[in-house]
Symmetry: C2
Subunit: 226 residues, 2 copies
DNA sequence: TGGACTTTTGGAACATGTTCCGAAAGTAGC
DNA sequence: GCTACTTTCGGAACATGTTCCAAAAGTCCA
């Protein structure tokens, strides 16, 4: 006897590595060394396998990250949401946002083609919540998808900009003026704001604008087809 | 006599290459071979210089792309916008959006840290238009920045998702179902949509949702501090 | 026992962005 | 002319994601 009991009825060389081991090693690296250190070669080294072997258990680096993200979503996203449609939409969007914001390396895969289709069930429940909330508020299914997509784009943009501007001092540091080198006489409002811009841009206003967006989208939808 | 007249009063080895030449060569490569072919080595080869020399005239690949983008913005963004505040905001946002959508490789630099601060004047005029429109509508300067940031995030997200999903067939092709592998019994709304999702997601709804967003933001701002 | 087939493994190689460091080519002052 | 100094140039090298291809290690059937 040579193979373990799970190798029954299976042909081919028995695997020495599993997808779960790879995901676990990736999580270990992220937790221990920081997520910038998660490279394919390092991941392979952590497991004592060749770098190219990783590609037999995971399609891409992207694929790896999406699976890690789904695991994170399973542990983070709470399934209970408010019953009232508008609040339900807002709460689901905020849940998605906060989950992504706490997982900065999600930025690398957020815009992958077909990203939504590769989400796990906990994440999809939030999508469902937004769509269902919109329908319950009186939207048609098509309008509900429209509502979700708009919120999704806004969320993606916020997360991406936020992630890439992490590590910046909130107030003026490097550059002398924020809009340096431009003819400020033609930009009176920006000129008047002056150095306040970085401070204002550092504020977390996701929720506030989200509410405005949801209000606007729902009003628009129910006005178009009441 | 050896140096040209512009090298008067300058010390050091006279440059054989200029930033303008590099930008021109980059544009040439993009137009001729497609923007995926724009690599640092290829760009250097196009000019007959060493790859590392490029880095003496341009800080980064990012830097290069931002400068190209600013040139594009100068030729694309029209300076005349509607006078009415709300329409002015919408028109400026649409101008930014369409300009970026026509420049797909902008996606690589859109989320660069301090991106807005590195924009050229034509682009900043659009930022100014949004902020000024918000102020003219009754917003405080702080609220106006908030309005702009929200619109900016939404626009960035739309552009990035759009860019990365380019080249997809609008209707069902590869994957059997869009939300495959998930327990659809808990996702009734998504299940009901079924295969319609890809078609709905392929629609260009930027303008429509933008209007809703602007309406919601302006209403929220004037309600908070009338 | 032995061939056919299948799956896993991993070394070599490639293109990419980027940094290091030394060489080249000028000017400035003596 | 000679020595400093400054600026530009570019080859070598590195880390990265990824693909190619051949070897390894099993099962299955005659």
């Amino acid at each position: 006897m040579s193979g373990t009991e799970s190798s029954r009825g299976r042909t081919g060389r028995p695997p020495l590595t599993s997808r779960e081991q790879i995901l676990a090693a990736a999580r270990r690296i992220i937790d221990r060394d920081g997520w910038e250190k998660l490279t394919v070669r390092r991941l392979a080294a952590e497991l004592g396998i060749g770098a190219t072997t990783v590609y037999h258990h995971v399609r891409d680096r992207e694929d790896l990250l999406i699976q890690l993200l789904n695991q994170h979503a399973d542990q983070t996203l709470s399934p209970d949401l408010p019953a009232e449609p508008r609040e339900r939409i807002v709460a689901a969007a905020v849940a998605i946002h906060d989950s992504l914001a706490a997982w900065p390396w999600a930025a690398e895969v957020l815009t992958t083609d077909g990203f939504l289709g590769r989400l796990g069930e906990s994440a999809l429940r939030m999508v469902e919540a937004v769509v269902a909330g919109a329908v319950d508020h009186g939207c048609t299914p098509e309008q509900a998808v429209h509502v979700f997509r708009a919120i999704w784009y806004y969320t993606v943009g916020e997360i991406l900009v936020r992630t890439h501007s992490e590590g910046r001092r909130p107030a003026g540091d490097g550059r002398p003026a924020f809009f340096a080198g431009a003819d400020l006489s033609r930009l009176p409002r920006l000129a008047a704001l002056g150095d306040q811009w970085p401070a204002l841009a550092a504020r977390d206003t996701y929720r506030e604008a989200l509410r405005a967006f949801v209000d606007g989208l729902l009003a628009q939808a129910t006005a178009t087809a009441p």
